[in-house]
Symmetry: C2
């Protein structure tokens, strides 16, 4: 039979995420591909204890429907303990629980994007966002970055040239894929420009609390004095573990109410069980202690990666120096990172993500996203050494 897909779906969908998941499951591979936390950092015993306690304390409530907004105890913890870390002072009524922050991107696409609508994003930008947006057939306009993030003069030009643009999508901290962080003055300016040009900002901020160097920079949302301009998306995938699939949106009430409607239409609500487990864990355990340990480990891994790049790669190679998160963005002039992917995986047992995946309009190929989050310092050194050898022989 001919499957009658919607126009929206024709030619849509990359297999790359599937391949990355598959590669990540091969235990012998040195994988710089996945953007996930190190499993050895999951607080297994404490989360197991909290999970059990959730059943003891809340009983059948944890197994029932609760509602699309998310359970109140978890929204309270996010409003009272997590958002102030980002410089954002809100109440639980300003928070909606999502099945990961990815769902917040997907809902933004569903809520705001008609075919052909313009989305402004960084250049390069997050693959998963392109994946969510792509289903709704937008056009993209990319804004270049330097090592302080998106260039505000370029953003202003872009807004003037694209007065009908609807959304500005940004990953302001330790950006996926580049590791770059948007400077504080640019955040303020970004909100001003969004006000002037009447555009919504999607602030996708899953790595915010994985800063291992430098001072916290307030969220873009903290500069949103009207409260109407920024949809902030947070996540527990990096701070606690990704298998729980819990994130949140913080925005104005009207938009959050539309998020609720979307949540009801798409899956009713996030797992009540998992929400109570996480709320109990966060109440009984100081997340900051866990985060400090994570930061120590990731800093060590970043340092190992940077040292190995310095040692094994030639001088014409460029790379970013992230102050947090998981990603280094490597630029190797004259090399095609996409063509090199299969030889790297099959011949030298090293995986990464080719830069091409992150471009809203693909036109560059000499970039590698290297994630240091899941490999030991020894494996990082070994993997980068192998990669350098493969590149020099290419």
């Amino acid at each position: 039979m001919t499957v009658p897909y919607s126009k929206r779906m024709q030619g849509y969908g990359s297999d790359f995420i599937k391949e990355m998941f598959a590669a990540a499951r091969n235990p012998d591979l040195i994988s710089f591909a996945g953007g996930a936390p190190a499993p050895e950092l999951y607080p297994l015993d404490a989360f197991r204890a909290a999970s059990d306690k959730a059943f003891e304390e809340w009983g059948r409530t944890v197994m029932a429907y609760d509602g699309a907004e998310g359970i109140m105890p978890l929204r309270e913890i996010i409003a009272n303990e997590r958002m102030p870390q980002m410089g954002v002072n809100v109440g639980p009524e300003d928070i909606r629980i999502l099945s990961g922050s990815q769902q917040g991107i997907d809902f933004a696409a569903r809520l705001f994007i008609d075919e052909g609508d313009t989305i402004i994003c960084e250049y390069p930008t997050y693959l998963g966002a392109l994946n969510s947006f792509g289903a709704f057939k937008p056009s993209y306009v990319s804004v270049p970055m330097d090592n302080q993030g998106m260039l505000m003069e370029e953003l202003e030009k872009t807004l003037i040239a694209n007065p009908q643009a609807k959304l500005l999508y940004t990953v302001p901290e330790f950006q996926n894929p580049t590791g770059i962080t948007l400077a504080a003055d640019r955040r303020k300016r970004m909100v001003e420009l969004a006000e002037e040009h009447d555009i919504l900002i999607i602030e996708d901020s899953p790595y915010y609390e994985i800063r291992f160097e430098g001072e916290n920079i307030p969220a873009i949302k903290s500069f949103d004095t009207t409260g109407d301009r920024v949809i902030y998306l947070g996540s527990f995938s990096k701070t606690l573990c990704p298998g729980i699939r819990l994130g949140w949106a913080c925005a104005n009430f009207e938009i959050l109410d539309r998020y609720r409607v979307m949540k009801e239409a798409s899956d009713f609500q996030a797992s009540t069980v998992t929400q109570y487990q996480v709320a109990t864990f966060l109440r009984d355990n100081p997340l900051d202690e866990l985060l400090n340990e994570s930061r120590r480990v990731y800093r060590g891994r970043r340092d190992a990666a940077l040292a190995a790049i310095e040692e094994f790669f030639p001088d014409n190679v460029e790379y970013t120096i992230p102050q947090g998160g998981y990603f280094i963005w490597l630029t190797v002039p004259g090399v095609n990172a996409t063509e090199m992917f299969l030889p790297a995986v099959n011949d030298i047992g090293v995986a990464y993500v080719p830069g091409e995946s992150f471009f809203a309009a693909a036109d560059q190929s000499c970039n590698f996203r290297l994630s240091y989050s899941q490999m030991t310092e020894e494996k990082i050194r070994e993997g980068i050494s192998r990669l350098a050898k493969l590149l020099s022989s290419a």
Copy 2:
């Protein structure tokens, strides 16, 4: 600011689900509104034990990403133990885990529906499906039912009159909202007609295993000999508990692969934690024992509801007699169930869902969906007696 919603979203979204959730939380209300299982039937202790065991046995795996397909142990249990109950013999490769079967409806809408595309459904049909489909602006064509479900002669006429129709959406067992079950010969005929007229069937089957009277009727999917025609959607929300948000799709590989792409774009995957908890629970506990207890309880409640309707309502009232599931469909000539909703909740403390919510094209108002699943037999009798009094005074 003017929020720049997509055209898709304008005028979209009913607050009714939110209101029902809110009404369901009032413990004094006699609620026939919610379509959820009785909390006292949740296997709290066994599920708590299985949850803990999942951490013990699988360790950090339960907290990690696994992949959009769903964890293999759960897909195996569904393929080997649940689907054969429905007369469907498949392997785990034919199953994809979803965040509830609602997500399976939503993905079907996303995958197949362009604005204006025709969806064929029962008359009346499930509110939540209308909610998912609605975002993609289809047109609906409804097919009337008798007490054996959708009329196949009417379906054939409808298919001939609407050659461009893309999807046929049906809830074949103990339908939400009517409680009606589609007869076996009509299931076979429905697949034949779908083949002849080249249309996909979405078989939404969350109540299948809540049959408390009569013999199981094989799923529509069991008549789908090519395997290409039917997307079967199953759920653990009614058999185990709804707060886990786990369901599944069973379809041909090409469609399942698109479901995977949708899953990655919308929320990556269902909670790994919950999937392992449920897989461990289902391995260690005979679901059929739990189901037998549920069936006993729901049969008692249905009987109480039918007896009370007979006792308190006048003779001109019509009602369905479900052989399973949660719903009785009450027709009270001359009464407007929508207008009566607020007086019923506020003045007599009784909630139901007005029939209007379930019509793809709203034009009837004298129907009440009464769910007997969550009230004791005493409360059912009391609630129906109050409702009859209110109606007679109206």
